[in-house]
């Protein structure tokens, strides 16, 4: 079949199982958009309002479904607008493929109109990228792009396709031979020696602790993890992206670790005599000061990326492999163990944490705290929604107060901390999982970075609900200013538009919530509407996310929420 390069792009996408492409047309990608009419009904294109939004939507879709998300843009500014979304996907190992138009091969390098060296620009922020100079290379390249994006440690792949390559014709045939990538061999399983050395440490440990990360969700290792934890009676701490790896109502699940993790979890890390790091990478936000990190523990680290092992933390047993495969190798040999004293010790720490928790402090003051808003949203959605956050205080409160029982139900920009991620990623998540209730929890700051995608949600009638936690500040920055910059609140007070009117201007139903008792009804109202909704929660302005490990401090040197003075209120 003689097809143009443009047609071949769609043929390949369809064969790779792509259902939706988020994109924005322009000169250098126009032939591909023109060919779209031939594929109507076989693949859906969603017009975004900014190419960054397209990448976040593809990313949200990928994280919610486990499939590869696809974003498309033109050359030059279209492609450079994708940079933030690509870097976000890179840091969180999210499989996306970005297809960009490029100026014709005859003028590459001449500073042609809308020419940017996009493979150069994105080289350090993609897992791999390609510039397709010959139409003969188009099909093999697109196959490689999807294969690389979804296998091993997943990540973004960009394919830059000059306009003349899109216009040229070639005989199209979907290849049956295996993909030729001589330098690409993701690790799979552990060696027998590694398994034996890990088992020795597991059997010898008195105070073991599992650190479960994003890798659990990505490799589908939740069941294997639970089996291991239950059989060995080992408590499980979660990284931010590891939320969902273990149901948070499970008695062995301690919750989140790190800078804003539960104090009890961080104390347990510091006191443990064995850390089992499963699909996590000892990010500085979870370790604090590396010199004093978990000083008395032996460490077993299982990760798909060999370069993560011994990168930040020296480990005793490092296993580069697919977590699920390795746990399936390990579990048959794992003995039944008990760690009652250790678990009781942790429980004591947890009680202290619970007493300080704002959730357990009754406020009859009429004030609305963000933590309460998010906890009530959790209750009103029965803890079963897919929650997509932006970045900042609301993100940490969501991690603390929206408890997740299932994998792939918390989607958040962890590694890059990309403000503006939440709302578009929620659109992508909802389009990928249309039968799930999807909530974007965003701050007033981050939402304003990508709120133009309200138009996309309205045009496509995406049934996504937005909860804006509006404290009229860039709250996390404000919190750092309060603690570390002597309360000089430079550039953090924020004037926002009337979000309700703004949403309505886009044709989107919206409400404002100012009292705690209104929350359940407002959430039910939003969920009853077939289409996007916006709820603005007007919350206390100066609240702080507790506890907090200051950047670079020892993990157990947390700033704690002061103990409530019960005598005053009760």
């Amino acid at each position: 079949m003689l097809l143009t390069g443009a047609e071949i792009i769609w043929e390949c996408l369809i064969r790779e199982g792509v259902e939706i492409v988020w994109g924005y047309p322009g000169g250098a990608i126009l032939p591909t958009y023109d060919a779209l009419s031939k594929y109507e009904g076989r693949i859906r294109h969603v017009l975004v309002r900014h190419e960054q939004g397209a990448t976040h939507m593809a990313d949200g879709y990928a994280r919610a479904t486990g499939k590869v998300g696809v974003a498309m843009a033109t050359s030059g500014p279209g492609a450079t607008n994708m940079v933030t979304g690509i870097a976000t996907a890179m840091m969180d190992s999210s499989p996306i493929v970005c297809i960009t138009g490029q100026v014709p091969t005859s003028v590459i390098g001449s500073d042609a109109f809308q020419e940017t060296d996009v493979t150069g620009v994105t080289l350090p922020i993609t897992k791999h990228n390609f510039l397709v100079m010959r139409i003969e290379d188009l099909v093999p390249t697109l196959r490689k792009a999807f294969f690389i994006a979804r296998t091993g440690r997943p990540g973004p792949v960009l394919v830059d396709i000059p306009k003349d390559v899109q216009n040229k014709k070639i005989e199209f045939e979907w290849p049956t031979e295996p993909i030729r990538l001589p330098g690409y061999r993701p690790p799979k399983q552990a060696t027998q020696d590694q398994i034996e050395r890990a088992l020795e440490l597991i059997k010898a440990a008195k105070n073991p602790l599992i650190l479960a990360g994003h890798g659990v969700n990505m490799s589908g290792a939740e069941r294997a993890l639970q089996e291991f934890a239950e059989r060995t009676q080992t408590p499980v701490a979660l990284t931010l992206l590891g939320k969902g790896a273990m149901p948070e109502n499970h008695p062995l699940c301690l919750g989140m670790m790190g800078m804003h993790g539960a104090a009890a979890v961080n104390m347990a890390i510091q006191e443990a005599d064995l850390l089992l790091a499963f699909g996590m990478r000892f990010d500085d936000r979870v370790t604090g000061n590396l010199k004093t990190y978990s000083p008395n523990s032996r460490k077993i680290h299982i990760d798909i990326d060999a370069s993560e092992i011994n990168k930040n933390v020296r480990v005793d047993v490092g296993i580069a492999g697919d977590l699920r495969t390795v746990l399936d190798q390990l579990n048959p040999h794992v003995p039944t163990l008990e760690h009652k004293a250790w678990l009781n010790h942790i429980r004591d720490w947890q009680e202290d944490t619970d007493q300080r928790d704002i959730i357990n402090q009754v406020t009859d003051s009429g004030k609305l705290y963000a933590a309460h808003a998010i906890r009530d949203l959790w209750a009103a959605t029965k803890g079963d929604a897919i929650v997509v956050t932006d970045v900042g205080q609301h993100q940490m409160w969501t991690a603390q107060y929206y408890l997740h029982e299932r994998p792939r139900t918390l989607i958040t920009s962890g590694g890059l901390g990309t403000m503006g991620f939440g709302f578009p990623a929620a659109i992508g998540a909802k389009m990928g999982r249309p039968n799930e209730s999807v909530w974007a929890i965003v701050g007033d700051g981050g939402f304003q970075m990508t709120l133009m995608e309200l138009a996309t949600a309205a045009q496509e009638n995406v049934n996504v609900n937005v909860a804006i936690i509006n404290n009229a500040y860039l709250g996390m920055v404000r919190q750092w200013q309060e603690f570390f910059h002597e309360e000089r609140y430079n550039a953090t007070p924020m004037l926002s538009p009337d979000f309700v009117k703004l949403a309505e201007a886009y044709g989107i139903a919206a409400r404002r919530v100012t009292k705690r008792e209104e929350i359940a009804e407002a959430v039910a109202w939003a969920e009853s509407i077939n289409g996007p909704t916006v709820l603005e929660f007007v919350v206390e302005k100066a609240d702080i996310v507790y506890p907090m490990v200051p950047a670079g401090a020892d993990l157990d040197k947390m700033i704690r929420r002061p103990m409530p003075d019960w005598s005053e209120n009760h």
Binding site: G120, L123, P182, G183, S307, K311
Partner: protein, 164 residues
């Protein structure tokens, strides 16, 4: 200490850029990096010399493997190997310089306009010895190619036939 890594990479445009970008963004300092053709037209070979501790060298190796175009990486430092660096050294023509050159087995490949170009191909230590011997005599211009290395005897670095 010095670590010599040899990497076989796909002979494709931009691969050198990918490797260089990796070293820059991971903050890996390299002494030298050379790239050239091999017996296989699809494969280029890089020799990378690092001055670092063992952990760091291991990280470099693992990060090189993360690049899709990198087929095989091997550290040759610990194994019996031959390493060669090539230097061209321009000095003021003198009997002392000629004598120093001959002492190191270097060749004088140009002698004109009152200057000489000395050509030496040897391991790094020997080249540094010659450079030090010539320095007091006035080095006018110096260029070195960087190290290339190869394991000795039956030890051969080739792409795994299952993948190449």
């Amino acid at each position: 200490m010095k670590h010599i890594l040899v990497a076989l990479v796909e002979n494709e445009p931009g691969v050198l850029n990918r490797v260089a970008s990796l070293f820059r963004r991971r903050n890996f300092n390299i002494d030298s990096l050379t790239v050239g053709r091999t017996e296989n037209p699809n494969v280029s070979r890089m020799t990378i010399v690092l001055d670092s501790n063992v952990t760091r060298a291991d990280q470099v190796k693992k990060n090189l493997y993360k690049l899709v175009n990198v087929i095989q990486v091997e550290e040759v430092t610990e194994k019996p190997h031959i390493s060669r660096d090539l230097a061209l050294i321009k000095v003021k023509a003198s009997a002392e310089a000629a004598w120093a050159a001959s002492r190191y087995g270097a060749r004088i490949v140009d002698h004109s306009d009152g200057v000489m170009i000395i050509d030496i191909s040897d391991d790094e230590a020997r080249i540094e010895g010659l450079v030090e011997a010539l320095r007091p005599l006035g080095i006018i211009e110096l260029v070195r190619t960087g190290v290339v290395a190869m394991g000795q005897g039956a030890h051969v670095l080739q792409p795994d036939p299952a993948y190449a």
